[in-house]
């Protein structure tokens, strides 16, 4: 559940920023609207994309439709997770998860999504900061971080590949790529590194492989690996550690030119490993009975923390 909390807070933040950036981009495109512009938002957010959809409907779906991965649902799930692991959270973390949930229950976005979405972004970032600065950096904390970093790695990888596919025929579109960077809160860092040359190759390279920015896939996988090491503590290599270590290494040692030219291959590798990784996480951390088997002989160990994960 701590894992779920970290994951769903990250997902909430991601969805909010995605919608906000897309909305802002739409204002740049209002003279020549693209037919699939709002359908693309749904696709980026992980919905099966309809052929055409109007703005307010698309936003409403991503923000609150219970039939797909909506912001509202994700936040509710995060709060449920927080409720279940309340003793492991600091009062400040719990209070702000709750406050965010209630604030959004009271508020709506009616045609002007900025205020609402900005509130979500700031709210989730506040919680993330409180997680780091008010909780002991113990096992519980590592689980939150693991959920967060894996989710972020997945989001950025999928965003880059979906966008590459979408923009493949359109030729260079610096504004669209700047939006991708904005959706990952990384535009400024990118400019510092590459200047204003915002092209498909540099963006993909940057968002997938850069080791310095906290929102690149490579960085997040390394951070997730650190979390797994924090959880394993006893040393040795657990199955999640092995799978994640390999995955992180494939990002760390990938050829930047190749990835820039075709990010799809690395992303496909990511998706393959993703399934393996979650199998490993389930069997090692989230299922106490199997864990007990693994620790055979040590009948005294049962992880309450981990039991709460399932």
């Amino acid at each position: 559940m701590l894992y779920v909390l970290g994951r769903d807070l990250e997902r909430t933040e991601h969805l909010a920023r995605l919608v906000r950036v897309h909305f802002e981009l739409s204002l740049d495109r209002s003279v020549h609207p693209e037919r699939r512009f709002w359908a693309n938002l749904l696709q980026l957010a992980g919905w099966p994309a309809p052929d055409a959809v109007v703005r307010d409907h698309a936003i409403a779906m991503v923000l609150g439709d219970p039939s797909g991965p909506s912001l509202r649902q994700t936040l509710e799930s995060a709060r449920r997770a927080a409720q279940a692991v309340r003793p492991s959270l600091s009062i400040e973390v719990w209070e702000q998860v709750n406050a965010l949930y209630w604030r959004l229950s009271d508020a709506g976005w009616q045609g002007e999504p900025y205020t609402y979405l900005h509130q979500v972004e700031l709210g989730t970032q506040l919680v993330a900061g409180l997680v780091d600065d008010t909780m002991a950096h113990d096992e519980a904390w590592h689980f939150v971080k693991l959920g967060k970093h894996l989710e972020r790695a997945g989001n950025v990888t999928h965003l880059v590949t979906r966008k590459s596919r979408e923009l493949a025929e359109a030729g260079e579109d610096p504004i669209a790529w700047a939006s991708v960077l904005r959706s990952c809160a990384s535009l400024e860092a990118f400019r510092l590194r590459y200047g204003v040359a915002t092209g498909a190759q540099t963006v993909a390279r940057f968002l997938l492989l850069d080791r310095m920015i906290p929102r690149s896939a490579s960085y997040c996988l390394a951070a997730a690996l650190t979390a797994v090491e924090g959880i394993d503590r006893r040393g040795g290599t657990s199955p999640p550690h092995r799978v994640l270590g390999r995955l992180a290494a494939s990002f760390e040692h990938a050829d930047p030119v190749e990835v820039g030219a075709s990010p799809q291959r690395l992303a496909a590798h990511f998706d393959e490993q993703w399934a393996d990784l979650h199998r490993a996480l389930r069997s090692s951390y989230f299922q106490p009975s199997q864990l007990a088997l693994e620790l055979a002989g040590d009948q005294l160990s049962r992880h309450p923390q981990q039991q709460q994960q399932s």
Binding site: Q83, A84, R86, P87, I91, W94, E95, Q96, N98, A99, W102, E139, D298, L300, S301, R302, H303, P304, Q305, Q306
Partner: protein, 487 residues
């Protein structure tokens, strides 16, 4: 009386008004507070009230009310107007409460020991031994320092003369202290100007004192004892309190499944293996603690826990079997219990109580139901009681049958006209009844946290203040007198 009736309308009704002597005329102690409230004005106070409720909601301070098998999440309403108790009045309450709980602890130790008080006939043994909360199998069990009630919540009411009476003792798992702590915290944030000019005694010491007392119960050879709080879990109506107290005391909040008993010792499962547990502050009722010795259907208990307790392998706070001392029939005997153990007159009076086991008293009760409050002896939370003046003929007939069938189950008391104080409502200030539950901690010393939980009946005229029955609360300030004895 309409729900928006101005406070003044009730001032002449006979109830003691804590704040106002006459319409618009506050008592001396409330003078500054009254001015401050007027200065803020109704609109501003309502805004602040909403802020306070939001703060409660964000902290997750909700409780679950069960009705028709359905649990509903509710906020425990807080009224912003504090109740004030001057230093001299408090000093007397403090003495009276310590006296009462000291005697009750001696009583518990005696009833589960030599039973001197019964053998000497100082109180009738049939009343004591027939209490549902008396656990015969615990007679002879020694507990550390002979102390069985580490925390008591004593319910006080103030009659129409302003005299405090003890209405009920709660010696098992009294709840409400977290609201005392949270109310104060929220009030400081939301209406700091109310505090100006008052020297309010802090309540925060509770957690510190309580934890020190709990640690003191551990075997002396244990250097750094492990104390845990055992909760029934997140679906319990008091879960917020369990969580909050565990956080404030820095102890683990555990559920039954986190503990296990091995050879009469209790262990907590942790990621590093088992850790011995020495003292359990348990918020589970006796019968749910252990599916082996209590209710076999208890899913929240720990198998073997009661045996471990009886073998001295773990300390439970509060102890088992305290129900014998807060039984509502035994309540009637408490003045004699105080005289017997302490050789003193009780400082705080009881409310007159009729025991339905006594034939003459029972006859009086069934003939006068419409003037009396009838309570189940083992009831709590305001469930199953009959308030005579507000009852229907059919309710009284039903109660009469129940009393005749099970006289030991019921006691009756005259209706006490609880004191009133204005609360903030949408239509202005309105008078509501209230009581007071101070919390008494017993360890090396017996101490009372200054103030306690003032519970407010939010329905006009209602005398039932229990949170489960729609009550709210307000902060309670014990002030330090400017000149000693001036009040």
């Amino acid at each position: 009386m309409s729900s928006a009736a101005p406070a003044q309308a009730v001032a002449g009704s006979g109830s003691y008004d804590e704040m106002l002597i006459a319409p618009g005329r506050p008592r001396q102690l409330y003078l500054r507070l009254h001015q401050c409230l007027e200065k803020l004005g109704h609109g501003e106070l309502r805004r602040r009230q909403r802020r306070a409720q939001r703060a409660f909601r964000d902290l997750g301070i909700t409780f679950t009310v069960y009705q028709d098998d359905q649990g509903i999440e509710k906020l425990f309403p807080l009224d912003l107007i504090p109740r004030l108790i001057d230093g001299a009045t408090w000093a007397r309450l403090d003495r009276g409460l310590r006296q009462r709980v000291t005697a009750l602890n001696l009583f518990l130790e005696d009833v589960y020991g030599a039973q001197r008080i019964l053998r000497q006939g100082a109180v009738p043994s049939d009343v004591v031994l027939s209490a549902a909360g008396f656990h015969r199998e615990l007679v002879g069990l020694r507990v550390p320092h002979g102390l069985r009630c580490q925390v008591a919540g004593i319910d006080l009411v103030r009659d129409h003369h302003g005299v405090f009476h003890v209405l009920e003792d709660n010696l098992r798992t009294p709840s409400g202290i977290s609201y005392v702590l949270a109310n104060r915290q929220i009030l400081k944030r939301v209406v700091p100007e109310l505090f100006v000019g008052y020297d309010v005694r802090p309540v925060e010491g509770y957690c510190h004192d309580f934890l020190a007392n709990l640690r003191w119960l551990a075997p002396p050879e244990v250097d750094d004892p492990t104390v845990v709080l055992l909760t029934p879990g997140i679906y319990n109506s008091a879960y917020f309190e369990h969580w909050y107290l565990a956080k404030q005391m820095g102890i683990e909040l555990v559920e039954g499944s986190d503990l296990l008993v091995d050879q009469d010792r209790v262990f907590m499962r942790t990621t590093d293996g088992l850790r011995p547990v020495h003292v359990i502050y348990r918020r589970l009722d006796d019968e749910f603690l252990d599916p082996i010795s209590g209710r076999p259907d208890s899913l929240v208990g720990v198998p073997g826990l009661v045996n471990a307790y009886r073998a001295g392998g773990v300390v439970l706070a509060n102890g088992l079997g305290n129900g014998v001392a807060d039984d509502k029939a035994v309540y009637a005997l408490v003045p004699d219990i105080i005289r017997y153990y302490l050789g003193e007159e009780p400082i705080l009076p009881n409310v007159p109580t009729y025991l339905c086991t006594r034939e003459k008293e029972r006859a009086h009760v069934v003939d006068n139901l419409e003037h009396l409050v009838v309570k189940r002896v083992d009831g709590s939370g305001g469930y199953g009681m009959l308030i005579g003046p507000m009852s229907t003929r059919a309710q009284r007939a039903g109660m009469r049958r129940r009393i005749e069938a099970q006289p030991r189950q019921f006691v009756a008391q005259p209706v006490i006209d609880l004191s009133v104080q204005p609360v903030l409502t949408g239509g202005g200030l309105a008078s509501r009844h209230q009581d007071l539950r101070p919390f008494v901690l017993s360890g090396r010393e017996t101490t009372v946290t200054p103030g306690g939980l003032t519970r407010v009946a939010l329905r006009p005229g209602s005398l039932v203040v229990n949170s489960s029955q729609g009550g709210g609360s307000r902060d309670t300030w014990v002030t330090v007198d400017e000149e000693p004895g001036a009040a």
